[in-house]
């Protein structure tokens, strides 16, 4: 089985937007269909990417992490067939596959939009020159009402459009989640080690795979730690600025 090759996989970020885009991209590059088997095959590439993302753009990581956790479950199950999953975990896996299929569908339909958009435009009539020369004010127009309204509008503008909408707390708990997952898999690995004693050659292969897989988890953990710390400093900077402005 050469699907587990560890050759580094370079990902062009242009190809996707979020976790599903990345996952779909990885699957399509390997010309696979979406199912738990193929998801297991792209898990390492996915984790590798998330780790890199964690280093360069910590605030973007969180949406990728939840998916990563489910992928790790899928991967673990494929490595340790006897690993019994809880109902919740099974549900997560099923839901990820469904969401990915749904995303794939809309992504494909997006192609229809891309190819038709602006090609055959239906035009609404142009704004006509004002022929009716009338002046019809409205009692609601006063100096005061205009001021109140304009201030309302200004108040509704999003404060900082690019502020990542991720709470640090959430990232920390996800980090904890990965810790738990790591423990869970290590535990299962010790318990199930005998299960691997099939053919010696494949056994060695499998052990190597699992070890590198766990190393990968560790990397991801580090990446998330990075994210958390960076978010902390971000936070502090924002607070400081706010104080200076007052």
């Amino acid at each position: 089985m050469e699907t587990e090759n560890t050759q580094s996989y370079t990902i062009k970020t242009s190809a996707f937007e979020g976790p599903f885009g990345l996952l779909l991209d990885l699957i399509e590059k390997k010309k696979l269909f979406i199912n738990d088997l193929t998801l297991a095959q792209v898990t390492e590439d996915y984790l590798k990417f998330v780790t890199e993302l964690g280093e360069s753009k910590p605030s973007d990581v969180s949406s990728f992490i939840v998916v990563a956790a489910t992928l790790i479950l899928i991967k673990s199950k494929s490595l340790l067939p006897d690993l019994s999953l809880t109902n919740e975990e099974e549900g997560d896996i099923k839901s990820l596959e469904e969401r990915l299929r749904l995303f794939e569908l809309f992504n494909r339909l997006g192609g229809n939009i891309k190819s038709a958009f602006g090609e055959r435009i239906i035009f609404a009539p142009e704004e006509r020159k004002n022929e009716v020369l009338v002046f019809l004010p409205d009692a609601q127009i006063t100096k005061e009402s205009m001021m109140t309204l304009v201030q309302d509008v200004l108040g509704r503008i999003p404060k900082k459009t690019f502020l990542p909408e991720v709470e640090v707390k959430k990232v920390i708990s996800i980090e904890e989640m990965i810790d738990k997952l790591t423990e869970r898999i290590q535990g299962a690995l010790r318990m199930n080690f005998r299960e691997f004693s099939g053919k010696v050659t494949t056994r060695e292969e499998k052990v190597t795979v699992i070890v590198s897989f766990l190393a990968m988890l560790e990397l991801v953990r580090q990446g998330i730690l990075n994210a958390v710390q960076e978010s902390h400093t971000d936070d502090i900077m924002i607070e400081k600025q706010a104080i200076q402005n007052e």
Partner: protein, 195 residues
């Protein structure tokens, strides 16, 4: 002699903007059924003509026939923005093929926060935000006439593959609503996912 469709045509032409079926019925002092019939007839009258009837939810408007797109485009001075980013495409395909979606649904399907993309699309006039009739605290983002116009279609049903995918989308939407409900209740606890 029934000239309801002519009256409708005159009103739509004069107005030059979308108008609701309800408002048409009010103006013309007839029932919904008559309005719908009149619109059907008008649609037939406009077949193979220079102008077309566009329909969206309960609103109607007139526009130039899409086959003359290049000609009109050359005539108009304003430059048209035909670029769509990857995130815009994803978001538009959800809004169009679902014929309206809440931000939570869009975020869930895309797996990323879509608020900024939605704002950009709304500023461009490609999506409209309305209060969700089922829940006034939420908003629904739905396709605008402008979006249909850029796609060169008279109604969402004319989207490529629309009838083929609309069933599976509806089905998926139900699962999605289920999932979203779950997600919301767990998120309320402490923002973390289960485990």
């Amino acid at each position: 002699m029934n000239n309801l469709e002519n009256k409708i045509e005159a009103i739509l032409f004069w107005r030059g903007e979308p108008i609701s079926r309800k408002r048409l019925a009010e103006i013309l002092k007839v029932g919904q059924t008559e309005i719908n019939e009149g619109l059907e007839n008008l649609k037939n009258n406009l077949q193979s003509r220079g102008i077309v009837l566009q329909e969206k939810d309960n609103d109607i408007t007139l526009g130039t026939s899409p086959e003359f797109s290049t000609m009109i485009e050359d005539l108009q001075k304003e430059e048209l923005n035909k670029n769509l980013t990857k995130s815009s495409l994803e978001t538009l395909s959800i809004v169009l093929y679902r014929n309206g979606a809440s931000r939570a649904e869009i975020d869930y399907i895309r797996g990323v926060n879509s608020s900024f993309t939605l704002r950009a699309l709304s500023v461009r006039g490609l999506v409209e935000r309305i209060a969700d009739p089922k829940d006034q605290r939420r908003f629904i983002y739905r396709p605008s006439f402008e979006l249909l116009s850029y796609m060169g279609i008279k109604s969402v049903e004319e989207l490529p593959e629309y009838s083929e995918v609309s069933n599976s989308i509806k089905l998926a939407a139900d699962n999605l609503a289920e999932d979203l409900k779950k997600e919301n209740t767990t998120n309320e606890n402490d923002g973390a996912r289960e485990n």
